[in-house]
Symmetry: C2
Subunit: 144 residues, 2 copies
């Protein structure tokens, strides 16, 4: 469904939301541990998300990653788009160069329904909401 990169990105965003909700910042090493991802790899991903303004960061001592109030309202759709592009939102399920109602592939009618559900789900789900459930220990970001 999502690339590994995207899975890590979403997990990291929720983790950062949690660890920075009191205004503090969280380092890359702890993030990697918290979400069970390769340290250098998630660093690269967050760097890119930082450039796009999806996550905030500060260098130097006491520095690290955090989310400002507007970033907490980021939808998963925004993250997915930033990392994986928009193939999942508009691409053909059978890999035709273009998805189109006028020139549909054999799966088009069934696939667009699902694609719509996925899009709705990703649009309505915000990082901040997922972080709250995580806080209540109703959900988890890693599995040992």
């Amino acid at each position: 469904m999502f690339s590994k990169t995207c899975e890590y990105a979403i997990r990291a965003m929720i983790f950062i939301a949690q660890k920075s909700k009191d205004g503090s910042k969280i380092g890359i090493r702890e993030i990697a541990k918290g979400i069970d991802s390769p340290e250098y790899f998630i660093a690269k991903i967050l760097q890119e998300l930082g450039r796009k303004g999806v996550v905030q960061s500060m260098k130097g001592p006491t520095g690290g990653f955090y989310l400002d109030n507007s970033a907490r309202k980021t939808s998963l759709a925004t993250i997915v788009k930033a990392v994986d592009g928009d193939n999942i939102f508009s691409g053909c399920g059978l890999g035709l160069k273009q998805c189109s109602d006028k020139h549909p592939c054999p799966l088009h009618h069934e696939f667009t329904k699902i694609r719509k559900d996925i899009t709705n789900m990703l649009n309505k789900t915000k990082v901040g909401d997922l972080q709250e459930e995580l806080d209540q220990k109703l959900t988890f970001l890693r599995r040992d």
Copy 2:
């Protein structure tokens, strides 16, 4: 959603269903052209599907690929499972090692709904049915 390999596999299966419905067989070169895929690559994929009994083939002159009556009833789920494994049917949307109700990731509740829809869709959709729509030119296997 699906790997390139899987997209080609599904398209090829529908194409073979169409071209072999009169009992004839279809060669790899025509298949590659018909579904706009790399020739040697789809050959490898069909070889593997052949080993698994998902598609039928014959060597030699007048040889080629075809689908017997039972293969026409193959569901997309069978093809996807044969090619991509069962990650899409049971894997965690955020890439945790295990998807579980007891230890759910933040996306679990929303994701399992969609995963179920996908599973149902792939199970109920049969190659033969898609081929019929293709015959009526209601759908297409390539886009130029």
